[in-house]
């Protein structure tokens, strides 16, 4: 466990100061066609301090966590903010304060598996694919574990400890069709350490069989017909839509940077069927995949209801942006590594479930697509977005038809959201992705399925 008692350093806080000790631990095992191609662990820890002087920030970090270096980074951060304050001659904002105390540890209570046991688990998965999936020409399994352990003290009275683990198993299968490779990947896992998520390899066998079946159908599939189409975006795509297309445009730093969302506050930006929330730690009675209780500025994290029944209601804030916009801080300031400063990030962003049944939604489409799994995604200040789609089916006269090959969908979120005519009554979460802004960070995204009109790429 990292150093948690930072109280003795408060005498060095001459400005508003955050002091954080953090360790990120990873495990990576990758197996390609039965060969162990990756077998590594890492631990990266250190101390950082950030100070605020006359509206300007100073930050410093060091990998050595001892008394001398903790004092050094506080002094270096203070020196940096004062260096800028001396040049800029600014009065700055008074930062809001919503201090709290918390200690949240999501470590497993089970005994930890050895590296050998984990590799054996992976080899059994690999062997199962090799034995059962006859048309697979290449298979890759990658296990990635990330533990983020943080201890924070702020000069306005917050102290927080957290250990948030994430376990992800990525499986990619390739086959050939007419001499051309066709690939389909899937991701398993979520919040928690390996022992809490994967009891035995057998728990994945059913899902692997489904994965293989989708791959074979994809290999025999078609390229979609490009253009604006009626589509059902399944939960994983609704999740990435929530994150990329709406979430990024409503981060307050993006709004200050010119995002169109700045012009739409309290306006209808989506169908009344759409409500969208960036959850802090709990959603609909369950712990979120990336729970944040107190953010890395020491603000007690609360849910940010961004769209309420189609109306844009608020942005996501850190302390500084909440002062600028005269809004309540939502606890969205997060840092990935000890050497990163906290910036505005999403936590767990999701469209809330509606009342429709997925099968009825599919049945209502005469000519369109059911899009199931995304790859990557990007958004824009205009709310124009793009997602890769790696799994989906055409819908003809209300019935699923042929599978489709990899494609891309795009649209303008604040136009596209108005085309939503149905929202399913179920909900799925994923935290497989790493969101890239200035830093990477794991995020949760989720949602139900939505029916909408969207631009789809073809060949």
């Amino acid at each position: 466990m990292i150093l948690t008692d930072l109280g003795s350093y408060t005498d060095l806080f001459s400005e508003y100061t955050e002091l954080r000790v953090q360790e990120n631990r990873t495990l990576n095992v990758s197996i390609v066609n039965g060969d162990v191609m990756g077998n590594s662990r890492s631990a990266s820890s250190g101390v950082s301090a950030r100070t605020f002087s006359k509206g300007l920030w100073g930050f410093a970090s060091n990998p050595i966590i001892d008394d001398e270096n903790i004092r050094k980074v506080i002094r270096a951060a203070t020196r940096n903010s004062q260096f800028l304050a001396g040049k800029e001659n600014r009065t700055g904002y008074i930062l809001p304060s919503s201090p709290g105390r918390s200690s949240e540890d999501f470590s497993t209570k089970k005994s930890r598996l050895s590296q050998k046991e984990i590799i054996d688990f992976m080899m059994e998965i690999d062997g199962r694919i090799d034995g059962k999936c006859s048309r697979v020409v290449s298979r890759t399994s990658v296990l990635q574990l990330l533990d983020m352990e943080k201890s924070l003290l702020t000069s306005d009275g917050s102290s927080a400890y957290s250990m948030i683990p994430r376990t992800m198993l990525y499986i990619s299968l390739s086959t050939e069709h007419d001499g051309e490779p066709v690939q389909l990947f899937n991701v398993y896992g979520g919040l928690g350490q390996f022992e809490d998520l994967f009891s035995t390899p057998e728990v994945l066998f059913g899902k692997l069989d489904e994965h293989y079946e989708h791959l074979i159908r994809k290999a025999e599939g078609i390229h979609p017909d490009s253009g604006i189409k009626e589509c059902i975006l399944d939960a994983d795509l609704a999740g990435i839509l929530s994150h990329e297309a709406i979430g990024h445009t409503t981060e307050a730093d993006g709004v200050r940077g010119g995002s169109v969302a700045g012009d739409y506050m309290d306006q209808q930006v989506a169908s009344p069927l759409v409500s969208l929330v960036d959850f802090a730690s709990e959603a609909l009675g369950k712990i979120c995949p990336i729970p944040v209780f107190i953010d890395d500025e020491g603000t007690v994290a609360e849910d940010a209801v961004i769209i309420d029944n189609g109306i844009l209601k608020r942005f996501m804030h850190n302390k500084e942006s909440s002062a600028y916009f005269n809004a309540r801080a939502t606890g969205n300031a997060r840092a990935y590594r000890f050497s990163d400063e906290p910036i505005i990030r999403m936590r767990n962003t999701a469209i809330l479930p509606g009342k429709s049944k997925l099968e009825d939604m599919i049945a209502s489409v005469d000519d369109g697509y059911y899009l199931m799994k995304p790859s990557n995604g990007e958004a824009d200040s205009t709310s124009e977005f793009m997602f890769g789609v790696v799994q989906g089916y055409e819908i003809k006269k209300g019935r699923l038809g042929r599978a489709i090959r990899d494609t891309t969908i795009s649209g303008v979120a604040f136009d596209m959201l108005k085309t939503i005519t149905a929202v399913s009554d179920d909900m799925k979460w994923s935290n497989a992705g790493m969101c890239g802004k200035k830093q990477l960070i794991p995020v949760g995204m989720g949602g139900p399925a939505v029916k909408c009109r969207i631009n789809i790429g073809g060949k």
Binding site: S61, H223, G254, G257, R405, G457
Partner: protein, 431 residues
């Protein structure tokens, strides 16, 4: 321990003491001074020091790797024992190996320390330039950093390679706004050894900012056609990464690379020559030591359309039975072509100037599709207007084979030198 040589020597000894038969370590010390501008104002000065120590060991053809950021002897001893445990837990693979003996070498590039006052002055001048020339532009963020990396690679075959390299890096991100009309955001990224000129004069920074202010008036494009795309140097880097990804370890070992049987064959129009030049003195960035412990060399990946090398590591080479690449890719340089940019535009009957591409990961078969961002419609030899909500789709192999023209002009970004490339027969479609 006194210095990096002592530390890496200790690491190899610790790995050998632990029982590893072959061992290697990479020690990297990174110092960064970073000046940040947010929402149009200078906001943060950040100073970070970090250490990365990667220990790798092989036991009976089984390999394990531990990365830590501590360099005291106790941490190294503990890490060495963990490497042994990881290797012992793994499966044997004859392709696991470390680099053979090479002459020791020390490399150096870039200034040793930043000029913080000059960094501040350059950033302030940039802000003033933007305010005076582009009042509708919002600088969402701009980062100017100085990064110095000391690296030391050592292995149990006696390889002992050391490098220090540094550069200034500038990356502004911006959007333009006139009333409620908003452009797509755009960004630039350049690296330079010295801050010897204004930031807006580096790379394509001024061009992209100027385009951004035009793009508040982007127009929807209707219809669908097969036409030309002229890929700008800013956008070309992404396409080169798409192409080179098919030449790297994973797709080659998996056997799914579309180029797996194409060594020595023509995979692109003969106008295209692509190099990887990590040692180029024309580039501020680059590297001297490969990740697998070799002194890096410059290489030509595609020569007049012919594929000359894959980008295989030592492991990838042993696994596939093909030659190891003499570098790890990056530092890409494309040879200039015979046409001016204006001649290329003038030759397009119908197409787009592709300035940024926001696309899905290309498939194993090379198919890709995505949105043409910050781009322009071209008709009858003239750039007509900035476009929005326009998609393109194609296949990487077709892009390479359908190259029509390459520009004489090139842009040095500090980490790559790239021209404009005109590609025919691309599927373009709007609403």
């Amino acid at each position: 321990m006194k210095d990096r040589k002592d530390i890496t020597e200790y690491c190899i000894e610790a790995l050998q003491r632990a029982g590893l038969q072959k061992s290697e370590c990479t020690l990297r010390d990174t110092h960064k001074d970073e000046l940040n501008l947010d929402s149009g104002e200078i906001s943060l000065l950040r100073t970070t020091d970090n250490t990365s120590l990667i220990l790798n060991g092989i036991l009976d053809d089984k390999e394990g790797t531990i990365a830590i950021n501590k360099i005291d002897s106790q941490s190294i001893d503990e890490a060495a024992l963990k490497v042994l445990d990881l290797a012992d837990s793994s499966e044997p693979d004859k392709a696991n190996d470390i680099a053979p003996a090479q002459p020791p070498a020390v490399f150096e590039k870039g200034p040793e320390a930043p000029d913080l006052d000059l960094m501040y002055t350059r950033m302030k001048d940039f802000m003033q330039y933007i305010g005076e020339h582009y009042p509708s532009l919002i600088l969402e963020q701009a980062i100017l950093d100085f990064t110095n990396i000391n690296k030391h690679y050592r292995n149990s075959n006696g390889v002992d390679l050391e490098s220090r390299r540094s550069s200034y890096n500038f990356s502004p991100m911006f959007t333009s706004k006139e009333g409620t009309k908003t452009s797509s955001f755009n960004y630039a990224a350049i690296s330079t050894a010295e801050l010897d000129r204004n930031l807006h004069e580096c790379g394509t920074v001024d061009t992209l900012i100027n385009q951004s202010t035009e793009q508040v008036r982007s127009m929807e494009f209707h219809g669908k056609f097969d036409g030309d795309i002229i890929i700008t140097p800013d956008c070309l880097g992404g396409f080169i990464y798409m192409i080179t990804s098919y030449l790297s370890d994973y797709p080659m070992i998996k056997g799914t690379s579309i180029f797996k049987d194409s060594l020595g064959a023509e995979i692109a129009d003969p106008q295209l020559t692509l190099h990887s030049r990590p040692l180029s003195t024309k580039l501020a960035e680059g590297y001297f030591i490969t990740a697998d412990g070799f002194t890096a060399e410059n290489s030509t990946i595609i020569s007049k359309g012919v594929l000359k090398t894959f980008l295989l590591s030592l492991y990838g080479a042993k696994k596939t039975g093909k030659s190891r690449a003499v570098n790890g890719g990056d530092s890409y340089v494309v040879d200039p072509g015979e046409y001016t940019f204006d001649e290329m535009i003038g030759s397009v009957d119908k197409g787009i100037l592709l300035c940024r591409f926001s696309g899905g990961m290309p498939s194993e078969s090379g198919d890709f599709s995505g949105v043409a961002k910050n781009s322009y419609y071209i008709e009858k030899g003239e750039i007509k207007y900035p476009i929005k909500e326009t998609m393109i789709s194609g296949n990487i192999q077709n892009v390479l084979n359908n190259i029509k023209r390459i520009s004489r002009e090139r842009v040095n970004f500090g980490d790559a030198i790239l021209p404009w490339i005109q590609v025919g027969d691309t599927n373009i479609f709007g609403k």
